[in-house]
Symmetry: C2
Subunit: 338 residues, 2 copies
């Protein structure tokens, strides 16, 4: 039985394994500095389909297929899966996963979805619920721009604090303890809202959520930043990352020399119009599955905290003058099981 | 440790208790035949707020507050909670729950959300993860019409197969085994899509998902309809209910004399413009929390299967000519723990 510390930091008893992981990206991701982290690319933003939305579903479907295949499994070997995305009613996921006939639990955590799915699958695996479990998420620049901001055809200009939504998907297969990487613990975040209402500055809106969840993990476990090779967030971007480090500094947790933000990793700032960094569920998911998990698997990294952050707004809430509630979920990943 | 039968039917070991439950409705629900099932009503569709969406958040907030109070608890006694709704990016939930400072996991299952949240909370409680856990969902006629169909001001006519979205919210507090009602098992559904594309006939689209999940539960557990006082669905309405009974009949499961659909319970068909019945996350949630759970608590009902169904479409997917993927999650509820 997993052990619950305080209210919502859950220590795994038997350290479930991430049996396989996969990530697929689009054209811009292929041109970026982390191109070698991706399993595959498709430079067609439609992924062979008729619409961008159908393309995102296809992207997510291919990523799950690849993760399951890399685990040496078939769809019928998966007990159930967790998935979600940024689109209204999560259609990237529901249409992407409909052909698998795998029992499915839909989740919504905006860009925190990868951490939410991974922690839920890990708790299940640690308690022997089901056998092999899948978590997946995706984002797509063209579907996100149309839905959250302006259709691409409009040609609107983006302010310097805006982030670039990744066209990418990441998926993991989690099972009972086997080989590294292992999931050691997680902290479920609470909704935080510090009153930021600028939808072009979501890093600042999400930093307090990341701060609250990371500080709570350190408090609940008695661990400190020095116990980790990297404290990873996704996706605070430039602005939010600075705010997070300052907030944790005030609590006595100095993460500055080990902080990494997936939004700052995925793209090159010199050459591309990415402004404050990458974002979207697929950004943190692809950096987790393409960069961090392989390094935990081969032991280059020993322990990391993966904290994905989500801005829980909608275009309607912003039009109605609301501020931006945010959330962050944390997973402690390790190359060793104890 | 809960026992997993086949892939995704999970038998509880220690039968978690639903410690408290609450539901709040709107004006039409107050005028309906199940008015005495609600804890409270607010006849103001804005619930004292400025917009319908803010009203739905307020409705959900009040329902969670009431459920926690009925359990004799405070917000800080809740380990974490599961919630979601029909609105784009689930803003009914994220804004409704932001003031609680309770760790939160967002879920999306359209109108299956109450069953999804309840089964996740129950699995956690059965395995000692956290202490008291909350699940909540809501729907609102005015927000749903604006988002999925037409703004109310437009005055569009509704076809006879259309269902009426309930303005209602339901919430439960789940904890380790204590008093009835108890959660005995659950079955996680897979996405089903039989090619129905008429968004005014979602009952027909969702019936195959309900069929698949209920048949799988009977298959996995070896139980039969005769073991239950009621086989409850929400919300198939008139059309979908008939389809479900016929599909199960073909498998040899006759549920006709014990089938109940939340969409057929909430409103009176003679007097109101509800056509094929009620719908929306709040319909199944309020009938669960207002009608079924009290009867399981006092022993009037011994065992029921509660299967909430969700149509996983979005307006964009329908505009792009897609069919309607659906899902159904099942929870076995009982007045006895074993």
């Amino acid at each position: 039985m997993s052990e619950t510390l305080n209210r919502s930091t859950i220590k795994m008893t038997a350290s479930p394994s991430i049996k396989a992981f996969a990530c697929i990206g689009g054209k811009k991701e292929k041109q970026g500095p982390k191109a070698d982290c991706f399993d595959r690319f498709d430079e067609d933003p439609y992924f062979g389909q008729k619409t961008f939305e159908q393309g995102e579903s296809e992207l997510q479907k291919r990523t799950v297929e690849l993760a399951i295949a890399k685990a040496g499994l078939k769809a019928e070997d998966i007990s159930f899966m967790f998935g979600g995305d940024l689109l209204n009613q999560c259609i990237g996921t529901t249409f992407g996963l409909r052909d698998f006939n795998i029992p499915f639990l839909g989740i919504y955590g905006a860009c925190s979805t990868m951490a939410e799915g991974l922690l839920l699958a890990s708790i299940m695996a640690d308690n022997g619920i089901g056998g092999n479990l899948v978590a997946v998420t995706s984002s797509h620049f063209c579907t996100a721009e149309r839905q959250y901001r302006l259709p691409l055809n409009y040609g609107g200009q983006r302010p310097p604090t805006a982030q670039w939504t990744a066209t990418a998907s990441g998926s993991v297969v989690v099972s009972a303890k086997d080989k590294p990487p292992y999931v050691r613990a997680c902290t479920i975040g609470a909704v935080a809202d510090m009153g930021v209402s600028d939808t072009n500055n979501m890093g600042a809106a999400m930093a307090p959520a990341a701060h609250s969840t990371i500080a709570r993990f350190f408090h609940d476990t008695g661990m400190s930043p020095q116990d980790f090779d990297a404290v990873v967030t996704g996706d605070l971007g430039k602005v939010g990352s600075r705010v997070l480090c300052e907030l944790l500094q005030k609590d006595g947790y100095d993460i500055r020399n080990r902080h990494n933000d997936c939004g700052l990793m995925l793209y090159s700032f010199d050459e591309e119009d990415v402004h404050a960094g990458g974002s979207g569920c697929g950004c943190a998911a692809s950096m987790l599955c393409g960069y961090f998990l392989p390094r935990l698997q081969n032991g280059t990294l020993k322990n990391i905290l993966f904290t994905a952050t989500g801005a829980l707004l909608s275009p309607i809430s912003s039009q109605q003058g609301e501020t931006i509630p945010s959330i962050a979920h944390l997973v402690w990943l390790s190359s060793s099981a104890d």
